[in-house]
Symmetry: C2
Subunit: 574 residues, 2 copies
């Protein structure tokens, strides 16, 4: 493993000489895409040539022969796509499974923020993800989670200060500090978030932003602090205000938030250089049904964007922003990451290459070796529940508690008054958040109206951002049973009724990701959704995603935390 | 001087909080440019706002008050300009004097390649320049000279291998490896130049190119080796071929080479993102009479380029190429480097600001503290002549020697046969190169035709790339006397006749730069030129620059080296 500097120079020298030999045509290339029409992101046109690859790198475009030759007549070759901001955990599967899902969609690099797992496992969570992504055929790069816990109200599994993050900046796949959601803290000059920015800059790293609707001099202050991107723009005016002040705009089109239609006008000569695509989160069925960056690219073209301009947003611009200067273009010295499509109208991906290796042919992903994760980290990732067996007593409380009133089609809630008991007829259900990281026995209790459950209970250990267990039930007994089952699984989603599990999705990795294949997880998840709807949960409601946000104490009006019902507007417990 | 990491974070934290406070308007800014129209390089338009600066950085554009307010109504504010590639030594003055000359022209950052001084002093030359540029009000950044000596035929003052360069990459103002002129060596996969590229990449540094007219698969090979810029393009086709393959194009408009007219069509939406301006070299009278990057910018606009597009090439694009991401734009967090002009038509520079300090007002440069250079380096820089006193004997040689035939208006020569004696009537003069670094007593002797000198001798210690002493004379005695005078000066240019100095330009710093002010050097240089012309040197010939290139053994047909006359075409001594 360890290598002297002189040894490294020598190894790279030999590799470089083979690259030069192949480029000059003195030795055959490893791979040649013959007669390719390819997108040239520098001259903004379609060029035609053979594309030669050696040692995983493009060595030239021109006339070449290779050990492997692939005729690309009539096809278009694009650089591999980049997702500029995603939380891999949102796919509910392991990184290797995520990679297996996105490779056929042409993704060859993703920038992940391991915010979810870090809220459970702290620095161990970041290290787990680094190891679990090592050497995968999609290059997974990291932005370090800037807000763990997400708010001071959260009881998360860890607290990461700048010193904890600092230890990761030397890792070759760490690009910077992820979305600084605490823009309020930055604007106030709070020491803790500003220290994180200062430390990231001291390491010459990028800092991503997250500041919906921030404007004017406050926006100036947030950017002047060092935050040079935003992925929260939901209208054009907001995006242009940020872009004009120097921020790069990540046009987000994911599962929960979709901003492409609003921001598509940015994909023009005037603005595109500062724009790129991201998904933020991608749930299993969305990944399987729609795709990934290819879906955004296709939609952008359908919305009228020039294909070459849109391709630049799908690869080159993100690469330049993150200083990944060896990708995002088809040119000598760049990675042999290619997406071969039929044409821009139909846009069928026929092959995907990573570092010159054909990884996908007609949708079929070639097998690849799995990363070796150190055993103690695997054990640690599968042992994140520190919670005793609970009983109905634990969920019983006769004092009146606030009612979170669900709002149709939104993740906001309204204040629906108080209750001191479950009333299924009036759709007043018990809701609780059970702290599960440190065995504190903290259980915050309240009521939920509008969910529709008529029997049993629904519990999930995906609950933003601390991933404690959130449960909604028609009885205290069902609540306790559902939570106990989640605990027994070491994390997961459980639909409980009639004294037994109706459906469940085990999420054994930190309580938020499964060890199973994406298709299996998706099937179980759909079955669980069906089971929840069967028990009465409203058809317009995603039974689990909706719950996941009920504990996020930054969305108005009322939220449920491990300490009880919290009024976001007045910043007080009710 | 030394500071712990914790101390650094704390210092930067306090600074950052003041920046945030000023941006948010809680404290007055240090400087506000009121009512400014400014070029926004992100939205590609002219914006209007107050521009606020604190702690040397722009904190916001909007409505601001400051301790100092400067009304900019009716003016246009541009980001400070960058020269993407220059050899500072070409100005013949010290770095501080160079800075005093270019600041009024709006230059706030230059990227220098200390190739000339490194050929004299080796690593000490690089260190001297680093120290002599520390803290100047133009930020001087370095690309490390890649070709010292320039060719194996040169007898230079030093040989720099990759290990010698490596020791500089940690310096915060070193951006990479300078123009890899040895493209032949790269294409051949020669170990020595390829090692330098590999080592630069191992340090995550940029590598500049120099490959006039290279094309096709050879160009692919050169770029694939890792060379991502070129400043040698002299026609559009050449430039586009390089740009299409991923190279950044430095449009050069300097004293010796001027490519702007040919390359101006690159200044359009399609190509401009990959283009920037550079000068390569700027001689004293050119600096004083024409200016610097402002001259290129004005000329580009006059040639029809859109002013905003041209401004981006003058600042933003170079900054992004060199990863100097805190400059080249007017936006929060960027350096307070501004050029205030009246308008794009007249283009008079009225003020120049560096890090929020007004350094130039109506052409007058504010005094600034000079860098402290360690005494041993000053001594070393002024003691680069290791040469005994010479006599006519040393230049006497009765064997026939080749005649370098000058070509009107070119720096190439033709083979003009042989001679065994000086013949002033037929303009056959003695030419010699005297090794001066290591007291080798190597003196290469030949003849020169076409120079026109009728009496005396002309000698200069500026002689590319090794900066030995080159002399042309009408007698061996005059040659010896002129060289002895150059030696006595510790370097310089000498016009000798009638047993005495007719004119001279002392160049005490490494024999290639003066300790005097630019105006003085320019005056002495013009006097020396006049004196040389007075002695018969043809009016169409620059008496010293022409000589400077006669020893560069890469330009056909014949050259003079310390080992005699060399035929570049046949690569052999004649």
């Amino acid at each position: 493993m360890s290598e002297s500097y002189a040894g490294k120079i020598n190894r790279k020298l030999l590799k470089k000489r083979r690259i030069i030999d192949a480029a000059a045509g003195r030795i055959p290339a490893d791979l040649v895409l013959k007669n390719a029409a390819y997108v040239n992101v520098f001259s903004n046109q379609i060029c035609r040539a053979d594309i030669a690859v050696a040692e995983g790198l493009i060595v030239g475009m021109g006339k070449y022969s290779g050990k492997v030759e692939q005729d690309c007549s009539g096809k278009i070759v694009l650089p591999g796509f980049l997702d500029a901001h995603i939380h891999l955990e949102s796919s509910l599967v392991s990184p290797a499974e995520f990679v297996r899902a996105v490779l056929p969609h042409g993704t060859t690099t993703v920038i992940t923020d391991p915010h979810e797992i870090a809220n459970v496992m702290g620095a161990d969570g970041i290290e787990y993800m680094l190891q679990a992504t090592e050497g995968l055929p999609v290059d997974v790069r990291f932005m370090l989670p800037s807000c763990v816990p997400a708010t001071p109200l959260d009881e998360s599994g860890a607290v990461l200060d700048y010193r904890a993050l600092d230890s990761f900046y030397d890792h070759p796949r760490v690009q910077g500090l992820a979305e600084m959601m605490n823009f309020v803290g930055i604007l106030a000059g709070d020491i803790e978030p500003v220290e994180k920015i200062v430390a990231a800059q001291a390491h010459h790293k990028k800092i991503d932003g997250h500041a919906p609707d921030l404007q004017g001099n406050d926006l100036n202050a947030y950017i002047a602090a060092g935050v040079y991107s935003d992925h929260e723009c939901h209208d054009l005016q907001d995006a242009i205000a940020k872009l004009e002040r120097g921020q790069f705009i990540m046009i987000r089109e994911g599962t929960a938030a979709r901003n492409l239609e609003a921001l598509a006008p940015l994909l023009c000569d005037r603005y595109v250089e500062r724009c790129m695509f991201c998904t933020d989160d991608k749930h299993p069925n969305d990944l399987l049904e729609k795709g990934h960056i290819d879906y955004i690219l296709k939609k952008a073209i359908a919305l009228g964007a020039d294909p070459i301009t849109a391709v630049k947003a799908a690869c080159h611009n993100a690469a330049r922003y993150f200083l990944l200067n060896n990708r995002g273009a088809i040119a000598p010295g760049y990675l042999g990451d290619f997406v071969v499509i039929d044409n821009f109208q139909d846009f069928h991906i026929q092959q995907v290459y990573k570092k010159g290796e054909r990884m996908v042919e007609n949708g079929v992903v070639r097998d690849f070796p799995l990363p070796k994760v150190e055993p103690y980290l695997i054990e640690r990732a599968h042992d994140t529940f520190h919670l005793n067996i609970l009983s109905a007593e634990d969920f019983t409380d006769h004092r009146p508690r606030g009612i979170l009133g669900m709002v149709d089609g939104e993740i906001t809630t309204q204040d629906a008054g108080y209750s001191d008991r479950i009333d299924v007829e009036y759709d007043v259900l018990k809701i609780a958040v059970v702290e599960r990281h440190r065995a504190t026995r903290h259980i915050g209790i309240g009521f939920l109206q509008g969910y529709g459950l008529k029997s049993g209970a629904v519990a999930t250990s995906i609950s933003h951002d601390s991933h404690n267990v959130i449960v909604v039930g028609t009885s205290e007994e069902a609540c306790a049973a559902a939570v106990n089952r989640v605990t027994a699984l070491g994390g997961g989603i459980v639909v409980w009724d009639q004294g037994e599990v109706q459906a469940e999705v085990p999420l054994g990795i930190a309580g938020i990701m499964s060890d199973e294949p994406l298709e299996t997880v998706n099937r179980k998840l759909e079955e669980a959704k069906a089971a929840a709807h069967c028990l009465g949960v409203g058809r317009g409601i995603d039974p689990f995603m909706t719950l996941s946000f009920m504990a996020l104490p930054v969305i108005p009006a009322l939220r449920i935390t491990t300490r009880g019902v919290f009024d976001v507007s007045s910043q007080s417990y009710v």
